[in-house]
């Protein structure tokens, strides 16, 4: 009886979910076809707003009870997917041959032929009960993708206008850019909604393609090299994904993620889990697969914000969270944990040595993804709680930071942190939002800190002593590089500089909304925990989950957050009635009076220059990249050995 009701509900209401996936595709098509800039920008705005609205509708409809869907037209959908897969494979193989990147062509060929073979033979005999499942975790992911994604698309409208004014040497292909952004949103919805692994795989590869196209947008040599590197590594992950699916299909005769994760983590199961984890680790750019994410920073900022921090890289950790019941203390689980651990530590340290804002954000993204990987693979209730919260908070804060950096780059002409001390003079709002974003990344009582706190507790509760120590060192390094960036933002050097370009409303509104979301999410995380996380964890673990932070502590943190907001506001009247005597900065008495220059030897005026510490000799990528890659690769190899040993 219940099955019929659910099925019926599925038939009637699946329109909303299908709409959610198809609407961005339609928007992409519209954008691709329209030539006029202004009309196209309106389509983008409407498309983004529509996606956001659909997201809220879908979540509103299905949040409470969830839904499992099977489609009547499954065969037709799968035929379309097979054709699309073949088309993409042909494109990638030919591009690989054209640019002499033969490994890419080989990988794509292996991947596509294996999957197509599998699809036309074994897959016919496997019954898939539910192709899509929408549970509370899906709801959270859909919200993140839909809301953050649409805000970034709106932001991109304003950003790309200025981008092409500043970079007249790049060919304008804005319709292509926006179309790929919306195609990507569709694919991401597909990944988080899919329960059928082949459907997830198809959307996964679509996101790889989108990433490749967006990184290579400017068509410079550097962009092309970086896009091919991303394609190579992600294709490698795709081959692993395909291998995992084929193994599960042949050996366990199922294609559904929900069925796989409810199985016992026996020795044979470890092999496909390892492959799937490998795919996830490449998608989330963990060591030793990180170089593609660092290179992807050459792309225009909206793609860095959307793909390479807020959403696409979250697909990898999302898969690991789904696989969590099969990881945990198993050999594969421990391998993944330590890969995440070394990524977190090494990338936190390397971020200290960077002064390019986007590089800092990239290393920070890698580190935080490492942390989510650790939490997800440890697999206890507490650590999963932390992992999911980390996803939410990281997506919101990091996208805010990326799009702010994009706007700052246009305002001051470069994106070196050393030059951001003029920002208070140029745009107080941008400085404030950047500071909210940075505070949201590491300061109490914001969300990332809450998650790190629970993560620490979860690691100790599961006796992962080494990981706790890694977390302690990584947190200290994190504090260092964020605070020195904040320091540059609060210093008021040269208040007379003018901004170099217009700060569009299209840029300002998403930034403001995201900054608001950072603050609001810190206030509302207990609600998210109560209504989404605890029910989801209870369902996965079969026993009632407990919120890892006591109510007293939550109250104290809300108290801190209120202090953090009220204290600066209460200073405003004091600041406005300021009658203090102003004196020059102490420069041993040689201040020329403007606080910027002093009298040097021979009474010559010299400019004072202040810069941050980078400690490149200790934490520079030249020193650390090789070692951390080697250690991570060794961890992976030892994981394979343990897995094979477990089967013997």
């Amino acid at each position: 009886m219940t099955d019929i009701i659910k099925q019926k509900q599925g038939d009637e209401c699946m329109g909303a979910i299908t709409g959610l996936i198809l609407f961005p595709l339609a928007a992409a098509l519209g954008i691709l076809l329209v030539k006029n800039d202004e009309v196209r920008n309106m389509i983008v705005r409407v498309g983004a707003a529509g996606t956001a609205v659909l997201t809220l509708v879908v979540v509103g409809l299905y949040f409470k009870s969830g839904i499992a869907l099977s489609f009547r037209l499954e065969k037709a959908i799968e035929a379309v997917m097979a054709i699309a897969e073949t088309a993409i494979a042909v494109y990638v193989i030919s591009i690989g041959i054209k640019y002499k990147k033969y490994v890419i062509s080989v990988l794509s060929f292996v991947q596509a032929s294996a999957m197509l073979c599998f699809e036309f033979t074994v897959k016919h005999n496997i019954e898939v009960k539910h192709a899509m499942i929408f549970d509370k975790l899906t709801a959270i992911m859909v919200l993140v993708i839909g809301l953050v994604g649409s805000l970034i698309c709106i932001y991109a409208v304003g950003y790309m206008k200025t981008y092409h004014i500043h970079h007249k040497e790049y060919k304008e292909r804005k319709n292509f850019f926006f179309a790929v952004l919306f195609l990507f949103l569709s694919a991401m919805f597909g990944i988080v909604l899919s329960n059928d692994l082949t459907w997830m795989y198809f959307c996964w590869e679509l996101t790889t393609l989108c990433s490749f196209l967006l990184i290579g947008y400017t068509r410079t040599k550097e962009a092309r090299n970086n896009s091919f590197r991303a394609l190579l590594i992600n294709l490698g992950g795709g081959v692993a994904f395909a291998a995992g699916i084929i193994f599960i299909g042949i050996y366990y005769k199922t294609l559904e993620l929900s069925v796989v994760t409810s199985m016992k983590p026996e020795a044979a199961m470890m092999i496909p889990v390892f492959f799937l984890s490998l795919a996830a680790l490449t998608k989330s750019a963990q060591l030793p697969f990180s170089s593609w994410l660092l290179g992807a920073m050459v792309a225009p900022t909206p793609s860095s914000a959307l793909l390479h921090s807020a959403t696409m890289v979250k697909a990898g950790v999302y898969l690991i969270i789904r696989l969590a019941p099969l990881l945990g203390a198993t050999p594969v689980g421990k391998t993944v944990t330590f890969v995440g651990g070394i990524t977190f530590l090494a990338c936190s340290l390397m971020a200290i040595s960077q002064s390019d804002a986007k590089k800092i954000l990239a290393y920070s993204t890698l580190a935080n993804l490492g942390l989510i990987v650790i939490c997800a693979s440890i697999g206890t209730q507490e650590s999963l709680w932390a992992a999911i919260l980390l996803i939410i908070f990281h997506a919101v804060s990091k996208s805010l930071l990326f799009i702010s950096v994009g706007s700052i780059e246009h305002q001051i002409g470069n994106r070196d942190v050393e030059n951001m001390d003029v920002l208070l003079g140029i745009s107080k709002k941008l400085a404030l939002y950047m500071m909210i974003g940075i505070a949201g990344m590491f300061l109490a009582p914001f969300g990332m800190l809450i998650s790190k706190w629970v993560a620490m507790k979860a690691f100790i509760d599961s006796n992962n002593v080494i990981i706790v120590i890694i977390l302690a060192y990584g947190s200290a390094a994190t504090l260092f590089y964020w605070t020195k960036w904040m320091g540059k933002l609060v210093s008021r050097a040269n208040m007379n500089q003018q901004s170099e370009s217009k700060f569009h409303l299209d840029e300002e509104i998403p930034i403001t909304i995201l900054a608001g979301m950072v603050v609001v999410s810190c206030f509302t995380f207990p609600l998210v925990s109560k209504y989404a996380l605890i029910p989801y964890l209870t369902e996965v673990f079969g026993r009632t989950a407990l919120i890892p932070i006591g109510t007293n502590d939550i109250k104290l943190m809300l108290c801190m957050l209120s202090m953090l907001i009220l204290l600066p506001i209460s200073f405003i009247p004091i600041y406005k009635n300021d009658k203090r005597r102003k004196v020059p900065v102490y420069m041993a008495g040689e201040n020329t009076g403007d606080n910027e220059t002093f009298y040097g030897a021979m009474n010559e005026k010299r400019k004072m220059e202040l810069s941050n510490w980078y400690m490149v000799d200790y934490f520079g990528p030249k020193r650390l990249t090789l070692w951390s890659d080697v250690i991570a690769a060794a961890i992976l190899v030892s994981g394979v050995i343990m897995m094979i040993g477990g089967m013997a």
Binding site: V583, P584, G589, N591, N603
Partner: protein, 140 residues
């Protein structure tokens, strides 16, 4: 009880001094004379200081520096000119590069004579400056 008398922080600046008076000032901080028993701390920072001890005279190069240091000190503040050079230029008063005593640039509260001034005189001068500081504080 006057707190400013119990915790005077000094800033020691050397104008064109031959360093004789400077060494005597520093001697006051040593265990033999130990001015920290009066709460005196030698800060290097005008913004933290109450009393400006100047040794040596002023010349064209350090007139703006002395002015800036005096300006960066918060009220109430006192200036103690240590040694005869700070008072009037001392034996170097006729030199072409010496403008004169510190009083030519900033208002001086206490003059401590000597060449070099003895630590006992310097401490005596600082103690007199404490009373002047208290007077200034009352007037604020």
């Amino acid at each position: 009880m006057s707190v400013v008398k119990k915790s005077p922080w000094i800033l020691h600046y050397d104008g064109t001094s031959c360093n004789g008076c400077d060494i005597e000032v520093l001697a006051c901080l040593t265990p033999l004379y130990d001015v920290e028993r009066f709460g005196i701390i030698n800060t290097g920072n005008p913004k933290h200081a109450d009393i400006l001890l100047i040794t040596g005279s002023v010349n064209e190069q350090n007139i703006p520096v002395v002015k800036q240091l005096y300006e960066q000190m918060p009220d109430p503040k006192a200036v103690v000119a240590v040694g005869i050079c700070a008072t009037s230029g001392g034996i170097f008063a006729e030199c072409y590069n010496v403008v004169g005593g510190v009083g030519k640039v900033i208002p001086v509260d206490v003059y401590v004579p000597g060449c070099a001034a003895r630590p006992e005189s310097i401490i005596d001068g600082v103690v007199k400056a404490l009373d002047i500081l208290e007077e200034k504080r009352k007037k604020r």
